[in-house]
Amino acid sequence: MSNKFFQPDRSKYPSMKDDGTLDVDLSSQKYTKIWLGPNHPGVTGNMAVEMTLGGDEIVQAKTHVGYLHRGFEKLIERRLFVQGFPTSIRMCVAEPDTNEYLIARSTEELSGLTDRVPEMAEWLRTLALEMARLQGLLRGVPGQAGTYSLGIGVQWGVYLRDLILDRFEELTGARVYHMYIIPGGVRGLLPSGFKRRMEDNLTDIDDFIVRIRKLIFHNSVFKSRAVGSAVIPKEWIDKFGIVGTNARASGVKRDVRKDNPYLKYSELDFDPPTATDGDVYSRTWVRWQELVQTVDLIRQIMAKMPEKGDIRGDMPNALHWKIPKGETYVKLESGRGEYGMYYVTDGSSKPRRVNLRGPSYTHAIAVLEKMLINTNIADVHATMVSLQTCPPEIER
């Protein structure tokens, strides 16, 4: 679908000045300003984009965050090392387990007790992380079509995600905030029959994967909306610090699971999918492939993991755990990209500083603001979702 006829000459559009202000005189009445969010069904989470419009197109966008700010980093500074993990999991609700892993791993590393984490716990952590990725993708892949109002896929996806949440519930005792990965290990073995039920669900998901491919990727209207929309050029990757699927869709293969293997990923057989175009379609396509891969990974994990084992190593008493002064940066690959935590201890029983580095920090502010310029407002939501913005990890 070429719309060349409708592509105006944008050279006279205002651009952003170096200091971030816009070369736009709002009082000239040439531009309108509208807000997308925070009360808006199209916004991922609770954030706002302040858009200055010239007609139907955006001349300037500003991301406003902080609606979900709870001051986690401050709160964790007030909590014991063990108490930190229930708090941390709420940092990002989309893939909560990643936060837990980061805080657990940072704590273990700085206290020098990494070796005490049992093998079984490592496998279970890997499983939990992959399940978290799976449930995120089950929402995310059809969700991209959902932004163009193709709601059916979302409905299927959320249903299947719910099945995975059921498995989570069985394994961890909770649906969304699992609080499963605790410093030192995990909080439960696989219940009996778990693998069989999981396999049932994976079979359903296999069916879903085929259906969703037919529904989305062979859909002329979806293609006409997504192809060529919101392109991330390859040279932006380093310039903006773009990671994860967003980078891989532009042809830069970066995946922490491969680059700096953690947990059991070095024992698993997978290859991160990539694409070249860097547009919405490519990002969705990469995510779809990742969905396929995650299902495969979960099968691999369940086949390779031991049947029995300890779930938690001997750790210091939860009430008096103290960690000597030190700092570290631990990262993992979440569904949105490199997800890291800068963790500083000072010898007391509470962390000195915890700083979460979510990929959305870059994607939803610097990249989004840049990318939205000259887009139609109809595409804002799709762009946002295709970058997988998750506001809580920006403001924490």
Binding site: G84, E169, K214, K223, A318
Partner: protein, 615 residues
């Protein structure tokens, strides 16, 4: 599926073809499938492990408050509830949970020392009134109280604090049974810190400890490696840490909340660890404990007996500035601690370490003074403002069975004292000990050592009325005695010392079925199960009596006595009838060092109050 991922084949998307228009319609095939909706979501059961609402078995719960400590949201309050009494080992408090705070992390369940607090998998609680969401599980009845499923403490090997006690190094039985060298090695720094780390700082033990020592606080000092602070905490309530650290009956460990589902904390060994870290240097002690210059007042106190009660009273009186003089009958201080406890358990230099410090704060001691003969009690009353008597139980009690008056039937207290003073101790080849208490074990093991020295082998039988579980001796004492080759045979009652040719040849015993009935002490025996324990000498160790010979008749006349000759004291430890005489220690509480120390402390306070009444 897999193949597609691997090949990463990009489908051709640019050309718009008819396929791209038709394939999406495949989605309509779903219309003939049944909906996947849950029919009745309102009654849906959550997973068996689901973390729903709390329930608490209030009979099992001991109100240790660990759940409150671990809760990062301050959602838990410990509150008194009706029907639960505050008693030793149970604070009488129960957790009340604020569901306006809870985040259902279940850390409270994971750390619960008694496993009484659990989560059910019930999850629906809707109300228009926000005030109802504070409740005490187990007390406020809820519909989910009887639910079985829900979050329980994960298994296996999932603990928030160490379940296993750090092993205390000991000399092996073969090494120790021929000498009186102290066989418990004491903790190293790592061990002590590891053991201290297991403490959950609940403080339940403090109430049970007769001296109400600040146990969690000094354990915290061990954790923080701050021995001086630890020492200060110890001396707040206990001036004999070295001694207590070795031979305390550690009632605290019985109620330790960590011990409910694991090994109780070795509170005693940790106390010993703290005391051991400070060198035996009174200067240093004075510095740490801020007792270098104590303001003296003009009051004088006499203390009779330098046992735990006497020393404790003297120390605390000394701290308050009184001039204290201790009168000791024996040549060295320590009382029963020195003369009743064998040195493999409590070496003399450790007694000296504690005693020296007490003396260093200005307490005077007079040895070999026998009240009643050398100086009368009345004289003390005249010379001093108050008198504290902690005279202890130094007389052995006899079983009064036939043959017990034979010369080869001994009292354990006498033998133990003789071992210390160096008096000759008769050691026969085969020895039978009657009694199952700690003193019985002491004499058993001491005799075993002497036998080892003399004959190169151990042949001691210790027998007790009580069965294995109910023997009053500490468990480890019995175990160690057995390790050392002694034969501990519980649940037999002595009936007769068999004497042949004026020589003791054994002890006849019957199987004991029960000890107490409704009338009190009234043992029942199975006469058919009769055994004879062979022995050349018999040692009776069934309890001690007090020696009240220092009380003159006129003083006795003023005092009040209870059943079985017990001295009656009021709650301030004043002897009833004699306001200037304060009595404490074993004669009041029975044989126990920590009770003695507590008595001494409280006696000292009472004396202080008594003397300052006029002010």
């Amino acid at each position: 599926m897999k193949q597609q991922t691997r090949n990463n084949k990009r489908i051709n998307i640019i050309t718009m073809n008819i396929k791209d228009i038709l394939t999406p319609f495949t989605a309509w095939s779903k219309v003939v499938q049944d909906p996947v909706t849950i029919k009745d979501p309102l009654t849906r059961e959550a997973a068996p492990r689901y973390r729903g609402f709390h329930k608490n078995d209030i009979d099992m719960c001991i109100g240790c408050g660990t759940c409150e400590d671990i809760c990062e949201n301050q959602a838990i309050d410990m509150v008194p509830v009706e029907g639960v009494e505050t008693k030793s080992g149970d604070s009488g408090l129960r957790p009340r949970i604020d569901y306006g705070r809870c985040c259902w992390c279940a850390l409270c369940v994971d750390i619960c020392t008694t496993n009484s607090l659990n989560l059910t998998n019930e999850y629906t609680w809707v109300d228009a009134d926000p005030e109802v969401f504070i409740y005490t599980p187990g007390v406020d009845k809820k519909s989910w109280d009887d639910k079985e499923d829900g979050w329980q403490k994960p298994v296996p090997n999932y603990h928030f604090y160490g379940q296993k006690r750090v092993h205390m190094g000991e000399l092996h039985a073969d090494e120790r049974k021929d000498s009186f060298i102290e066989f418990v090695k004491g903790y190293s720094k790592e061990q002590a810190e590891m053991e201290a780390d297991r403490c959950v700082s609940c403080g339940i033990c403090t109430a049970t400890c007769p001296a109400h020592m600040g146990i969690p606080e000094y354990i915290a000092a061990v954790r923080n490696d701050d021995m001086e602070e630890g020492m200060r905490i110890l001396y707040e309530t206990n001036p004999l840490p070295e001694i207590c650290g070795r031979i305390c009956t550690h009632k605290c460990e019985d109620v330790c909340s960590v011990g409910v589902n694991g090994d109780a904390l070795s509170i005693r060994w940790l106390k010993r660890y703290i005391a051991d870290q400070i060198p035996a240097d009174v200067e240093k002690y004075n510095e740490i404990l801020y007792t270098k210059d104590i303001k003296k007042n003009d009051k004088k106190i006499a203390v009779i007996g330098s046992g735990p009660a006497g020393l404790s009273a003297a120390y605390y009186l000394g701290l308050l500035g009184y001039s204290v003089t201790i009168f000791e009958k024996l040549p060295e201080a320590g009382g029963m601690m020195r003369y009743g406890i064998p040195s493999y358990r409590l070496p003399y230099d450790q007694i000296d370490k504690d005693v020296d410090y007490i003396l260093s704060i200005g307490v005077d001691i007079k040895y070999n003074v026998n009240i009643g003969t050398d100086i009368t009690l009345q004289q003390l009353n005249d010379d001093y403002d108050a008198v504290y008597a902690g005279t202890g139980l130094h007389l052995g009690r006899s079983t009064r069975i036939p043959g017990s008056d034979h010369k080869n039937v001994y009292q354990s207290v006498d033998l133990l004292r003789d071992i210390v003073t160096g008096a000759p101790v008769p050691v026969e080849k085969k020895i039978v000990v009657i009694g199952g208490g700690n003193v019985a074990m002491d004499i058993t093991r001491s005799m075993a050592r002497l036998q080892m020295e003399k004959y190169g082998e151990v042949n001691v039988i210790a027998t007790a009325l009580e069965d294995e579980e109910h023997m009053p001796a500490d468990r480890e004492e019995i175990v160690e005695a057995r390790e050392e080759g002694c034969d501990v045979i519980p649940a037999y009652g002595p009936q007769e010392v068999i004497i042949k040719d004026d020589k003791v040849i054994g002890l006849k015993v019957w199987k004991c079925l029960s000890i107490f009935d409704e009338t009190g002490f009234n043992p029942k025996f199975d006469e058919s199960d009769e055994r004879i324990f062979e022995g050349d000498m018999v040692i009776e160790s069934i309890g001690q009596g007090m020696d009240l010979s220092y009380l003159s008749e006129d003083i006795k006349a003023k005092m009040e006595f209870g059943p079985r000759g017990r001295i009656l004291v009021n709650e301030d430890w004043q002897a009833k009838g004699l306001p200037w005489l304060f009595i404490g220690g074993d004669i009041i509480e029975g044989p126990d060092v920590i009770h003695g120390i507590a008595n001494g402390h409280r006696g000292a306070m009472s004396i202080d109050e008594f003397l300052n009444q006029g002010r």
